[in-house]
C-alpha cells in the first residue's frame, strides 16, 4: 500500500486554479521530489497535505487514513512533519527548545501534572531530551544547542528546521525547498542528509525543490507540475528529458506568442 495517496486534488483561490486534478502516490521509503516552475502549485500541494488549504475536490490518504477529516494540528500526530519555504522557526527560543517543540505529539502528561511537575513529567522530559539529542547528533548541531535562533545564520536555520521536523519522529518528511539559499557546500551536505534521513531514520521524504542537481542525485521518483497540473512523473532522468517538462521550463515557440 502506498504511504501517501493524492487523488484528483483540485484547489482554487477565487477564480485562480492552483491545482487541477493532481494525482500521485508516494511509496514507503521513497525519496519523492516535486519540481516545476514558480507558481506551478508545488507549495500549495504541501499546504494541502498539511491541511492549511482545503481542496475543492479530491481525496488525500496517508497510510490508508483520510487526511481530509483531520484538523491541521492533527496531521503531525500521524507522523507527517514538514519544513517551510521561508523558515518558520520559533525565533526567540534556543535550538534545543525548538527541537523539543517537535516532541509535542509524544507528550503524555496531563496539564495539572505539568503545572506541578509530577515525577512522571520529569521522566518524560528526560526522555524527550534524550530523543532530541539524537537529532542534534545526527545533524551535528551540538555547538549551537543553546543558541537563540535569531542569531543563527540562514543555512543553520534550515538545518534546525529539518531537525525540528525530525524530532517529531516522522514517517513522512515534507521538505519545502530545502536547498534554496544554501551555499554549494551546504547543498552538498544536504544531499547526504536527505539520504540519511531515509536510510537511518526510516522516514519517507517528499520534497519540493528547484535545484535539479540535488533532485537527480537523491530522488527515486520525480513529479513535474506546471500550472497546477501533473505533466510528468517517473525517474529523474526520464522527467528531465520529458518534452513537456522542457517546454514548461524553457517555453517553446508555440508558447511564446
Amino acid at each position: 500500500m502506498s504511504l501517501l495517496e493524492v487523488d484528483g486534488v483540485t484547489v482554487r483561490f477565487g477564480g485562480v486554479t492552483a491545482l487541477e486534478r493532481v494525482s500521485f502516490a508516494v511509496e514507503p521509503g521513497e525519496i519523492f521530489a516535486i519540481v516545476g516552475p514558480n507558481g506551478a502549485g508545488k507549495s500549495t500541494l504541501f499546504n494541502v497535505i498539511s491541511r492549511i488549504h482545503e481542496p475543492e475536490e479530491g481525496d488525500l490518504r496517508f497510510a490508508g487514513e483520510n487526511l481530509l477529516r483531520l484538523a491541521p494540528s492533527e496531521v503531525a500526530g500521524l507522523g507527517i512533519a514538514r519544513t517551510f519555504q521561508n523558515i518558520e522557526l520559533f525565533e526567540h527560543s534556543s535550538v534545543l527548545q525548538n527541537l523539543l517543540v517537535g516532541r509535542h505529539r509524544h507528550r503524555r502528561a496531563s496539564i495539572p501534572a505539568q503545572v506541578f511537575f509530577a515525577p512522571a513529567v520529569r521522566r518524560e522530559e528526560v526522555a524527550h531530551r534524550a530523543a532530541v539529542e539524537q537529532v542534534i547528533d545526527f545533524l551535528d548541531l551540538q555547538p549551537y544547542r543553546d543558541r537563540t535562533i535569531a542569531g543563527l545564520p540562514y543555512g543553520l536555520r534550515k538545518v534546525v528546521e529539518v531537525g525540528r521536523a525530525l524530532a517529531i519522529e516522522p514517517r513522512m518528511l515534507l521538505l519545502d525547498e530545502p536547498a534554496s539559499g544554501l551555499s554549494a557546500e551546504e547543498s552538498g551536505d544536504l544531499q547526504f542528509r536527505i539520504k540519511d534521513i531515509r536510510d537511518r531514520m526510516g522516514a519517507t521524504v517528499l520534497m519540493v525543490e528547484h535545484d535539479m542537481r540535488l533532485v537527480s542525485a537523491v530522488s527515486d521518483r520525480v513529479l513535474a507540475l506546471a500550472d497546477g497540473r501533473v505533466i510528468a512523473i517517473g525517474t529523474p532522468a526520464a522527467v528531465q528529458s520529458h518534452p513537456k517538462v522542457i517546454e514548461a521550463y524553457l517555453g517553446t515557440e508555440a508558447a511564446v506568442p
Partner: protein
C-alpha cells in the same frame, strides 16, 4: 568566565540551572520572608502591594509575554477574582482558602469563556476586544448591583486561617506572608509550565502559529488554555487586591489598571517571570520616589509642589524609554550586564545589537 559543564539531561530540566543561582534565589526568598521583621507597617503595606502586582503581572506575563496574546483588559479579570472571592466568602460563607481557590478557578473559566470567541482575533483585534471588555466591566459591576453593591461597592470579609486573623491593618505581617506564599506558589507553577510541553506550546504559538500547528499543537486550544491559566492567576491577584484595598467598587478596576498592568510587564521585561517582579517593583517604587522628591522640593523651594498626573507621566516616560532603548525590559538589561561580566573581557560590542528587521505585513492574519 564560567562555563557550565553538562553531564546529564536533568541539568537542562532542573528548576535552577546551577547551584549559584539556586543559592541566590534562596537568599532572596529568605530576605523576602524576613521583611515583616525589618519594615514598618507602611512600608510593609507597600511591599505587599508590590507582591500582589507581581502576581497579577505573572498572570498577564503568561498570556502576553509567553503566549504572545496581548490583553488590554486584564483589570476585568482582577475584578472577577476580587468580587468572586468576596461574594463567596460573604454569601456562601466559604472559608478564605476555599473561596480564594474558587475565585481563581472561576476567573480562569471566565477567561476561557472570553477566549473562545476571541480566538478568531489576532493581534490588534484581540487587544481591542479586551479593551472593550475592560471598559464594559465598570458598567457591568454597576449593573450587577445586587451582587456587587454597585457604586457603593463591597467590604472585604475578614480572613481567618488556622484560627489566626489575617488582616491588612490588624496583622500586616500575616497578610504579607499570605501574599508571599501565593506569589511563591504561582512562581513555581509558572516555572514548571515553562519547562514542560505546555510552556513550549505557548512560546510556539507566540513565535509562529503556522509552524506550531505543523508540530501538532492545537493553536486554538493552546490559546484558550493560556487565557484560562493567565486569568486564574490574575483572579487570585484580584482576590488579594480586594483584601488589600479593604473596600472596593466599580471605580477600582478601570481600563487604566489594565493598561498599567500591561505597561508594567513591558518595563519589567516581556517573556520572563522576573520581568513581572521587576515591573511590580517599579509600580510600587515610583509613587514613593515621587513623594520623597516632592518633600525634598518643598523643603528646598518652600510651598507645595503638586503636579497632577505626575505618576502616570513618569511611568509612561519610563515605558517609552524602555521600548526605545531596551525592548527586553529591566530583566533583559540585567541579563546583558550579567553576560557582560561573565564573559569579561571577551564581550564584543555588537553582541547584543538588535537585528534590523523589515516588517512584512501582519495584516494578512
Amino acid at each position: 568566565m564560567r562555563t557550565a559543564l553538562k553531564t546529564s539531561y536533568v541539568q537542562d530540566i532542573r528548576l535552577f540551572p546551577d547551584v549559584r543561582r539556586a543559592l541566590r534565589y534562596a537568599v532572596l526568598l529568605a530576605l523576602a520572608a524576613a521583611l515583616p521583621l525589618l519594615l514598618d507597617d507602611f512600608l510593609l503595606g507597600e511591599a505587599t502591594n508590590v507582591l500582589i502586582w507581581a502576581i497579577a503581572g505573572m498572570g498577564l506575563m503568561l498570556l502576553t509575554g509567553h503566549a504572545g496574546q496581548a490583553s488590554l483588559g486584564h483589570a476585568a479579570f482582577l475584578a472577577v477574582g476580587c468580587y468572586a472571592n468576596a461574594i463567596l466568602m460573604e454569601r456562601a460563607g466559604l472559608p478564605f482558602a476555599a473561596s480564594f481557590l474558587a475565585a481563581g478557578v472561576i476567573t480562569g473559566l471566565v477567561g476561557v469563556l472570553v477566549a473562545v470567541p476571541a480566538l478568531r482575533l489576532h493581534g490588534i483585534y484581540l487587544a481591542i476586544a479586551t479593551l472593550a471588555l475592560s471598559i464594559l466591566t465598570e458598567d457591568i459591576i454597576v449593573l450587577a448591583e445586587p451582587w456587587t453593591g454597585g457604586v457603593i461597592g463591597l467590604v472585604a470579609p475578614d480572613i481567618t486561617i488556622a484560627g489566626a486573623e489575617v488582616d491588612r491593618y490588624g496583622s500586616p505581617g500575616l497578610f504579607y506572608w499570605l501574599c508571599l506564599a501565593v506569589a511563591l506558589i504561582v512562581t513555581l507553577g509558572y516555572r514548571n509550565v515553562l519547562r514542560t510541553p505546555l510552556g513550549r506550546a505557548f512560546v510556539a504559538i507566540r513565535d509562529s502559529e503556522i509552524s506550531a500547528q505543523a508540530m501538532g499543537i492545537n493553536v486554538a486550544m493552546t490559546k484558550a488554555l493560556a487565557f484560562g491559566l493567565s486569568c486564574m492567576v490574575t483572579g487570585w491577584a484580584g482576590a488579594l487586591m480586594g483584601h488589600f484595598f479593604y473596600t472596593f467598587n466599580h471605580e477600582v478596576f478601570t481600563v487604566i489598571i489594565s493598561i498599567q498592568l500591561l505597561v508594567m510587564i513591558v518595563i519589567g521585561g516581556l517573556g520572563s517571570i522576573q520581568g513581572a517582579y521587576w515591573g511590580a517593583l517599579v509600580v510600587g517604587v515610583i509613587p514613593q520616589a515621587i513623594n520623597i522628591a516632592r518633600d525634598g522640593a518643598q523643603a528646598a523651594f518652600g510651598g507645595s509642589v503638586l503636579i497632577p498626573g505626575i505618576e502616570t507621566g513618569i511611568f509612561m516616560t519610563l515605558l517609552i524609554v524602555f521600548i526605545l532603548f531596551e525592548p527586553r525590559g529591566i530583566h533583559g538589561r540585567i541579563e546583558k550586564w550579567r553576560i557582560y561580566v561573565e564573559l569579561f573581557p571577551l564581550c564584543r560590542r555588537d553582541m547584543f545589537r538588535r537585528q534590523k528587521s523589515f516588517l512584512k505585513t501582519e495584516r494578512m492574519r
